[in-house]
Amino acid sequence: MNAVVLAVALPLLGAFLTPSLARLSLPLGRLFGPGLLAFCLWLLWGIARALGDATAGVALGGFAPPLGIAFHLDRLALLFALAVPAMVLALWPWGGRPREWSLTLVLAAAATGLALSGDLFNLYVFYELLAVASYGLIAANQRPAAQAAALRYLLLSAAGSALALLGIALVYTQTGTLNLAQLALLAPVSLDGPLGLAAFALLLLGIGVKAEAFPVNTWVPEVYATAPSRLAGLLAGLVSKLAVLVIVRLLLVVFQRPEATQLMLVLGVLGIAWGELAAWRARDLSRQLAWSSVGQLGIVFVAFSLPGETGVLAGLAVALHHLLVKPALFLLARHWNGALEGLRGAARRAPLAGALFALFALSLVGVPPLPGFWAKFVTLSGLFAQPGPLCSLAAVVILTATLVEAAYLFRTLTLLFGPGGEEPRMAPHGALDLGTATAFAGLLLAGVIWLQPLTGDLHGIARQAVDMDTYVDTDLPTPRP
């Protein structure tokens, strides 16, 4: 189990070796990063297989958790830890410069650490590392608009980090510990007051910057419209999900109280309304997809705010679906980034790309039998089963947003497949982008075929994630007070 540390350490080490290797020999530098990530994927896969249904804590450096810092391994953590090297490999910036390969490896290391960490201290450090890597990657594009977008994103994100640090400070003043398992024991007493809620609100807002949460998501269209499509896919697909994972861990382990979930629900509903309406108004494809990502993350927030196992199941379903669909859409939109009107008939000249785009768009709207339908269905049925006007309101907002989503995506599809647009102004799709998107489509269709076992697996993950006794016993092996 201790080998899991390598999944964080190796990409980090590789990030610093890549520039030197690339100077030695460019092909070697080019293959070094993907090779490391493939090794990490294999390593994590082996650990996940060996662990099975069990959980494990890894004390870094051999210092036991209340004193030292720890990784917490369970199926939820390993699922996202596996998603990191897989997604980074799929969206690897092959065409970039050594600096970008380096930063992408830092991003992978930080994201893996974020998924595995069982300690607020480490969560903060990995979150910052992820943030710094993403600033660098966005600013690697030399266009002035990208530089301005990177600066505006940096200011918002750094302010969010400071707020999250403030939340951590509040947690520490109330409990005197940063270990999540120990916090789970202390929270019902120590964090029950308004200060505990304030700490959660600060952490939610701070980490919510990366998770595209409602009031702090203004960076989304600016960055995604100027970033290369692979980076946009990585940020929208992977990084936002890891930020959500951190928030959900905090919600489940530390802040189990109705006010906290309500806060998430309200932010989620506002995010859905804001994102989908802005996407409807968007005039070019990359900004339409960016705003739609804000709306989808709103649904993820609403889904995770459902209590207990249902919430984790619904949230995972929506989050994993978006993790797969949005990067593929960004890849396909790479050569269709002009005004929507200019896309007339584009799918007729690129039938495969058009068909894939239609498949992903339909799944995003939630047309049965595609997995997007099932994800939204689980969320909505969970919402309707809850008492209270807020949950019903959220369900109504999701249904309305689905209509809006259908309206703008079908409009885009009509333009893509419609007649007209004789001059072939757009470059054809690269084989790499198309291949990656096809692989994602294969996974999506596999999700349709193996929906039953997939649901069973997600149920198992959700059951384990809400089981706090096991969580505490895993990380704090000493008998409880």
């Binding site: 201290f121 903060y124 450090v125 910052e128 943030a131 710094v132 600033y135 660098g136 600013a139 266009r143 002035p144 608009a145 530089q147 301005a148 977008a149 990177a150 600066l151 505006r152 940096l154 200011l155 750094a158 302010a159 980090s161 400071a162 707020l163 640090l165 403030l166 951590i168 400070a169 509040l170 520490y172 003043t173 005197g176 940063l178 600016e222 419209a225 100027t226 005039r283 070019d284 990359s286 900004r287 980034n337 002009g338 005004a339 200019g342």
Partner: protein, 143 residues
């Protein structure tokens, strides 16, 4: 009238720094001021975290023959703050470098102007006309 305990002053000061930084970030019209406000906000958060581990009369948490057995301040927040300070310095340097680049490209660091230029650039790259509305004031409508 007795003076308030020193803790009130320190906590109040830290929270005031946070409030000042947030207000600055929200209200600044100039990007350089935003970067300064960010520094103030981070200083406030760091100060609050150090205070969380403060112990009256404690010494630095380093084990030497002289400090053995004396009360010590909590080392965990100090380690966290040290990390946060290092990250903060790096991020601010990066922000300044980006601000320089933006200034070279646009000749201004005014928040609204930079945003307008950025959106115009993005629109132009996508081949879009500048966004207009017939509800705009007549002077801002393109003729």
């Amino acid at each position: 009238m007795t003076p308030p305990p020193i803790e009130f002053l320190l906590y109040g000061g830290a929270l005031a720094l946070v409030a000042l930084g947030l207000a600055g970030l929200v209200m600044a019209r100039h990007l350089f001021r935003s970067i300064l406000a960010l520094g103030i906000l981070e200083a406030g958060a760091n100060l609050l975290l150090v205070l969380a581990g403060y112990r009256a009369g404690g010494v630095a948490p380093i084990l030497t023959p002289g400090t053995l057995g004396q009360p010590m301040v909590d080392p965990v927040p100090q380690a966290l703050v040290l990390t946060a300070i290092v990250i903060g310095v790096g991020v601010q340097a990066l922000a300044l470098a980006l601000a320089l680049r933006v200034h070279q490209a646009y000749g201004t660091l005014d928040v609204a102007e930079v945003r307008g230029r950025m959106e115009a650039d993005t629109d132009a790259a996508a081949g879009l006309e500048p966004e207009t509305s017939r509800d705009l004031p007549a002077v801002e409508r393109p003729s």
